[in-house]
Amino acid sequence: MENILKVENIEKYYGSRSSLTKAIDNLSLEVERGEFVAIMGSSGSGKTTLLNVISTIDRVTSGHIYVGGVDITKLRGNELNKFRREELGFIFQDFNLLDTLTASENIALALSIQDASANEIEAKIKKVADELDIKSVLSKYPYQMSGGQKQRVASARAIITDPKLILADEPTGALDSKSAKMLLERFDYLNNELSATILMVTHDAFTASYANRVIFIKDGKLFKEIHRGNDSRREFFDKIIDVVTLLGGDLSDAL
């Protein structure tokens, strides 16, 4: 299978020489096309930093990150923005929807900044709204929607541009369990039916159990990696909990 994402020996340091913090310490990983990968770790483990450097919001101190064969650590300025809007789709914990725009306009914005035509935009919105079951909220404003609806709208915005890689940062973090389940089922659908590649950061074992593979990070290093294989979601969830226990208390504290 083709590698969509290849992270090679990256390091990310914060602070000055006297008080150096290694947020990521010589970390490597690969994600293949059509994979649904979850990254878990306690707070301060470096998982958000990892997502930030992959999404080019932050820069690595050393190492290389390849997305679809392009070394994104070498991109600068507007190349970065171009890469971000054409190759990546983002889903954030706090949705990051624009409160002045309706749901459909929020979704459309991702396409309009790529200079898509109005007809194309409307057709795509219709399709994605069907897939994510948000047809009824398209003309609503974010403040009129529930958290789950907001996150599905944000997901629609992330996938509408057909990105190579969808990055999700604690997508269920602000959702109740029912909404979280609905969202994750949509992710599953996107992954299975549309073969979207998803990289998701979470500290929630239940959320992670929807993935094909879970990568655990501790102190900026790869701690363990488990594959779902043919396990049922329930079995996979138990495996994840085992590793979480192994990782130490603070991750389960966060549950």
């Binding site: 809007r85 954030f92 990051n96 002045t100 991702a110 900044i113 200079d115």
Partner: protein, 692 residues
């Protein structure tokens, strides 16, 4: 401790304060400069009549200053409210930490104090420097000579500025204290989480309101321009003003609902780049800013009209003097006051018998009685006679059209006697002035007039070929409209009508004035001044008990009085115009900046979904641009009609030079308004920049 906190706050939020501080400095320095004008004018050498006008100007300026201080006061309170809002969360944290509201008020008090003192120090220094520049302009405007450059400092203006602005700052402090004592902790902490409720207006209501408002505005426009003649009373002007203000408000109100609808239907535009975002930003804010947009629009309108009309006045008056005061001196002498028709008409009222008896003497002889030989000073001169008779008034010249005109203009005096002049006399004057001369057949007459509204009235009769009966001769008009020409010197076209008739129809018994028009031998201003001073002394002499002395109109006196008048009007116009302009621009700028913290979050989202910097900057530029342009656009449309109205009102002053003053106004507008726009743009760009 509190003091330190306030100082740190100011340092921290210097970016937000920059435009506020800048506006304060501008306001203070302009306030100082205009109030310090008397010190500047004191050092230049001007005639005493001008001195009087300067005094009047200073009194007017200080009255205007009170008005200006109200505007600036409101601006400052408005601005500090914005800056307070931005810091709600900070105050919320102080309160949760147990700080008392009194202490928060103290922090704000110190902040206002520091800003106040700083702005006064900087503003006054800038003002003192600017006022040196102003003295050059003042000297130029009074057409005086700048003999030596002196550094001028007006302590009275200095103290006045400090007092006025201290009062404003005290009001701000009171205001801040009240708003701190009224606020609730919950609102402070959650103030920026509350997303503004987007009220969707019914588009049909919007369209109806828009159409009605446009119609009302159109009616107001009509009333002040073509319908000008329908305005009978000075009070009537309030109707179009109120109509204009109200319809301006409703146009913005309905536009806020409509613009989005319109552009949304233009899909390929709406979905291009960040257009949907910009339009949403715009419509989400205009809902809450309709009122301030209206105020700003009206202020800009007043500014444009003020600046362009006062600049026009200055230009046209200088032109006017050149055209309408071609000779150096003109003496008008009342004659034949004992003739029965004058006595019957009560024209002798207020004069004693001796004066009446002596009114047979002509002007030169009269001056000789006092050993004042004016002729010896003159290079050349002419003498002409003016006639009038109760049998030739407006009632007669308008003829059969009288009733028609009377219904439109009920306030005109129709029984005033017309000025009659022989064609040979008029041609003498015309040759002397270097203007067009006329010829007449024995049964013809000409009406000369250049005062526009009178020309219009007289043309009604002339079009109808109304004949007149003068001393038994029936005369018909040679032309079917008024011709250009004048006899009395002035600074503008104010000749409301002279009847030129053939020489042989005149009855010498009806001689009312004789006139002497001449040019001095000397062209030296000082010597002319000496001649005119002694002439004035004579005319104002008590000896005139015996003789009725002639009225003197000289080029120099016309020049001085108009000059001082234009300078006064120009200064007041500039003062108010600039203050209005900076106030409205500052309100817009502050509003945009205070909202850019909300916007910051939105722009970060845009960046995250991959909008590049160029696109984001373009969006920001357009967003701020729309907010600056919208009130300006309507203000410009208002001004097109407003200036036309001003032209009508100022008709007396002549309006030939409208274009250069409109260009000047545009330059002012572009520099100040455009400057504020750019500052706002760059400051906002700085605020929304991601801090890495």
């Amino acid at each position: 401790m509190l003091y330190k906190l306030s100082l740190k706050n100011i340092k921290k939020s210097i970016k937000d304060y920059a435009i506020y501080f800048f506006t304060l400095i501008l306001g203070i320095s302009i306030f100082y400069v205009f109030n310090a004008l008397d010190t500047q004018t004191a050092m230049i050498d001007v005639a005493s009549s001008t001195r009087e006008l300067i005094k009047l100007m200073m009194n007017t300026l200080s009255a205007v200053s009170v008005f200006v201080s109200f505007i600036l006061g409101f601006l400052i309170i408005y601005a500090s409210r914005f800056l307070m809002k931005r810091r709600n969360k900070e105050f919320g944290i102080y309160l949760t930490l147990g700080m008392s509201k009194r202490k928060i008020s103290m922090i704000l008090f110190f902040e206002t104090l520091i800003i106040g003192v700083l702005s006064l120090v900087v503003g006054l220094s800038v003002g003192v420097v600017l006022s040196q520049l102003m003295s050059v302009i003042v000297v130029n405007m009074f057409e005086a000579d700048l003999t030596k450059f002196t550094f001028v400092f007006s302590s009275s203006a200095f103290i006045k500025t400090i007092i006025y602005f201290s009062i404003m700052y005290i009001f701000v402090m009171i205001f801040n204290t009240i708003s701190v004592s009224k606020c609730k902790l919950i609102d402070l902490l959650h103030s920026n989480k509350k997303s503004e409720e987007l009220k969707i207006k019914n588009p049909f209501v919007c369209i109806v309101v828009f159409i009605i408002a446009s119609l009302v505005l159109g009616r107001a426009y009509y009333l002040v321009t073509d319908g000008f003649l329908e305005l009978k009373d000075a009070k009537d002007i309030f109707a179009p003003i109120v109509m204009g203000c109200v319809s301006t408000f409703f146009i913005f109100w309905s536009l806020s609902g409509l613009i989005l609808k319109i552009f949304k239907s233009m899909k390929s535009f709406y979905y291009k780049e960040l257009n949907s975002f910009i339009l949403r930003q715009f419509s989400s804010k205009i809902n809450t800013t309709v009122f301030s947009t209206t105020i700003i629009c009206l202020m800009l309108f007043v500014t444009i009209c003020l600046l362009s009309s006062c600049l026009t006045m200055k230009n046209s008056m200088n032109e006017g003097i050149k055209r309408f005061a071609p000779a150096d001196i003109q003496l008008t002498n009342k004659r034949n006051m004992d003739f029965p028709h004058q006595r019957d008409l009560n024209m002798t009222y207020g004069y004693n018998q001796e004066q009446i008896n002596n009114s047979h003497i002509d002007v030169i002889a009269k001056l000789k009685e006092f050993d004042f030989d004016l002729i010896k000073y003159l290079k050349n001169y002419i003498e002409v006679n003016i006639y009038s008779t109760p049998d030739l008034t407006m009632n007669h010249t308008l003829g059969s059209r009288l009733d028609e005109v009377r219904t439109s203009f009920p306030f005109l005096r129709y029984d005033t006697m017309e000025m009659i002049v022989k064609v040979s006399d008029y041609n003498k004057i015309a040759k002397f002035y270097g203007i067009k001369s006329y010829s007449l057949k024995d049964d013809e007459y000409i009406v000369l007039a250049d005062f526009k509204s009178m020309v219009n009235i007289r043309n009604i009769a002339l079009k109808n070929h109304e004949t007149i009966n003068l001393f038994g001769n029936i005369l018909k008009p040679k032309y079917d409209e008024c011709q250009n020409g004048f006899i009395e010197m002035s600074s503008q076209s104010i000749n409301s009508g002279i009847i030129v008739v053939p020489d042989n129809v005149i009855d010498e018994d009806y001689l009312t004035y004789d006139m002497l028009i001449g040019n001095y031998k000397t062209s030296d201003k000082k010597q002319i001044q000496i001649i005119e001073n002694s002439l004035n002394e004579l005319i104002n002499n008590p000896i005139k008990e015996k003789y009725l002395l002639p009225d003197a109109t000289t080029k120099l006196s016309i020049k001085e009085s108009t000059n001082s008048l234009t300078v006064m009007v120009t200064f007041i116009g500039l003062y108010l115009g600039v203050i209005f302009l900076i106030s409205s621009a500052a309100i817009l700028g502050l509003k945009e900046l205070s909202e850019s913290s909300d916007n910051k979050k939105r722009f970060i989202v845009l960046r995250k979904i991959g909008a590049d910097e160029k696109l984001i900057n373009k969006a920001l530029f357009r967003q701020i641009g729309i907010f600056f342009m919208l009130p300006l656009l309507l203000a410009i449309i208002h001004s097109i009609f407003g200036i036309r109205f001003a032209v009508k009102i100022l008709e007396v002053f002549g309006t030939d030079e409208l274009l250069p003053s409109i260009i000047m106004t545009s330059i002012f507008l572009v520099i100040i308004y455009g400057g504020y726009f750019l500052i706002t743009y760059y400051c906002s760009k700085n605020i929304i920049k991601e801090n890495r």
